[in-house]
Symmetry: C2
Subunit: 356 residues, 2 copies
């Protein structure tokens, strides 16, 4: 608290990301990182970019990366926006497109950064409860609004909405922007990117942090018709001309282009998720159906917070949210098969199920 702060700063309740421990002896299943390394081609491209040319500014428009993404999603470069992680892309989206006269609609259980952006940019908003089974009910969004945003698959639940449902939402809300935050879409969902040419009110946001194993590089992007992208560019160019460094651009291009590696690791994670879900269910956990690289689970006989703390004692970190409606749940990242086995073994011990 200080007399020098702007009035806004006093009102902020900043987002708190999941713990990033400095020790690497822990099994880290708390922030949905990919358990597999980035594409070897991305690593190679990054090393090649570590050169004298770092003295020069990057391309402020990251045209090469926009072109790679446009090719991948069969869109034009003018339909692609890139930023320093999807968090930056989201922040610009709130300021450029979601700050309107009518309130923005947000599911009550979703990415907890959304209300923080609302407070940063003074965006009117209304939280819309998910159903008891954590689903989005389209009827609940049939009201005047200045925009709609939700993750698909949803976080932290993992539940997926199909494209036909998203299309219905777009058709029912033709006067406001619908933002589909697809951080986890590559683990079993179908991207709404294919709808971009057909709906001028759709913005799709993705990240390279999850399915491309590049959380450490900070690259996110948005796909939408050129009018929406231009709004993001105008804010970006009033904030920071060069949000992506040379190395991030080079690594991201190579990662997007290496489709084969991407498909192999995402397929592996999808299979591991199934095995993990089965094992958890065998231990009486309720597992919400997940299309993401995490599972959202509760145990009818054990408090989630106590389970998280008992796992932590066994050097395994999972995510627990102190938040109404979900405080009995744990969000567990799908790790390698070895990590998943260690988790199951630790839980067996904690629940007293271990075979002697």
């Amino acid at each position: 608290m200080s007399r020098f702060w702007s009035p806004l700063v006093h009102e902020l309740t900043p987002y708190v990301p999941g713990e990033q421990p400095k020790s690497n002896t822990l099994i880290k299943l708390n922030t949905n990182e990919n358990p597999y390394p980035p594409s070897p081609k991305a690593i190679k491209a990054i090393k090649a970019e570590a050169a004298a040319s770092l003295r020069l500014y990057p391309d402020p428009n990251a045209d090469q990366l926009k072109a790679a993404l446009a090719t991948y999603y069969n869109l034009d470069c003018q339909q692609v926006f890139v930023g320093n992680g999807s968090d930056e892309v989201l922040a610009h989206t709130f300021q450029a497109l979601l700050k309107q006269q009518q309130p923005l609609l947000i599911p009550d259980i979703s990415y907890s950064f959304y209300p923080v952006y609302c407070s940063l940019y003074d965006v009117k908003h209304q939280m819309i409860p998910l159903t008891d089974s954590f689903e989005i009910d389209l009827q609940d969004y049939q009201k005047n609004n200045g925009g709609i945003i939700f993750p698909n698959p949803n976080a932290p639940t993992g539940r997926l909405l199909g494209l036909s449902t998203i299309e219905a939402l777009l058709q029912n809300n033709q006067d406001s922007v619908v933002v589909v935050d697809e951080a986890y879409i590559d683990f079993g969902g179908q991207s709404a990117a294919s709808l971009v040419p057909h709906y001028d009110n759709l913005l799709v946001i993705q990240t390279l942090s999850k399915s491309r194993s590049l959380a450490g590089l900070r690259v996110g992007f948005a796909l939408g018709q050129s009018d929406l992208i231009e709004a993001l560019e105008r804010v970006k160019n009033s904030f920071n001309s060069y949000p992506l460094d040379r190395i991030a651009i080079a690594g991201a291009v190579a990662a997007i282009e290496d489709k084969e590696y991407f498909e192999t690791i995402t397929e592996t994670i999808i299979q591991s998720r199934q095995t993990l879900s089965d094992s958890l269910q065998a231990m009486d956990f309720e597992v919400v159906p997940s299309a993401a690289n995490f599972v959202f689970v509760r145990h009818p006989q054990h408090k989630a917070e106590q389970l998280a703390s008992a796992l932590r004692k066994q050097s395994i970190i999972v995510r627990h949210f102190h938040q109404p409606r979900i405080e009995e749940y744990l969000r567990i990242t799908v790790g390698t098969d070895e990590e998943c086995k260690a988790l199951i073994k630790a839980l067996q011990l904690i629940l007293g199920l271990e075979q002697a």
Copy 2:
């Protein structure tokens, strides 16, 4: 223009950075990049960080980099803020500290991004004319204000304010924050960082883009007492938890720690600036005294815009601003000695001074 844009977006006039040509056959003296490569230790650290660990998020607080900067400037870690280029640090500063009831004071000739931030965050401001010799006159800042910001050395003029003048400004403005933007301070000025422990209203902002040859890596930082830094952290943590990627952190730490290399290249540039200034004066250019890695010059007989365009035809890019009071000036980055010689030769040709 689109019905989906927030009202703010319609009002924005984004900043336009200097041209970043994709061809590298040009002699690029237009965006004040360092002509020398980054420290070999920084390149090595970057390559080492290009590894499997990129799948993990970076440290959201970049503690290692804060520690390196705190050591370098003899401050505490709580007195250091880091961001994705000094442009991001500046943006957060406008929102966190400079948006006040009273107007922010800005020199009329300075970094042209400042008024853009004002428009992005709706910050009241007043442009204060520099004197005819492009100097800041302290008397002009003796008025009610919600903050003061200026580059030191100033850009695009290159003129330096001494620490005693800055101290007078801090003493005369104890109720508002004074931001000293030191992008170019290492080329001959004395940083106000040493004043941080003594003035709770001082924020110093720097970048690794210029003196550390890392424009392509995007790292900037702020130094100030912990109250001011906390305001920046609160905004940062409401915007993007992980603004600096793992590679940027690693490269920046190594660059800050390699003091010897830094001193060698900045000293070289200071000497080249002197030689370049002498040569330009010998051709009747008026050269504003510069403490930066650029010179700001005009020729009494030749239009700046025409000179810039004639240089461009000879594959040399310099910066010309279409802006009242300075449209007869060119801002020329101090390149390598070879690049400076090529510039002088090209100008001799253009001015008809070339020896037969």
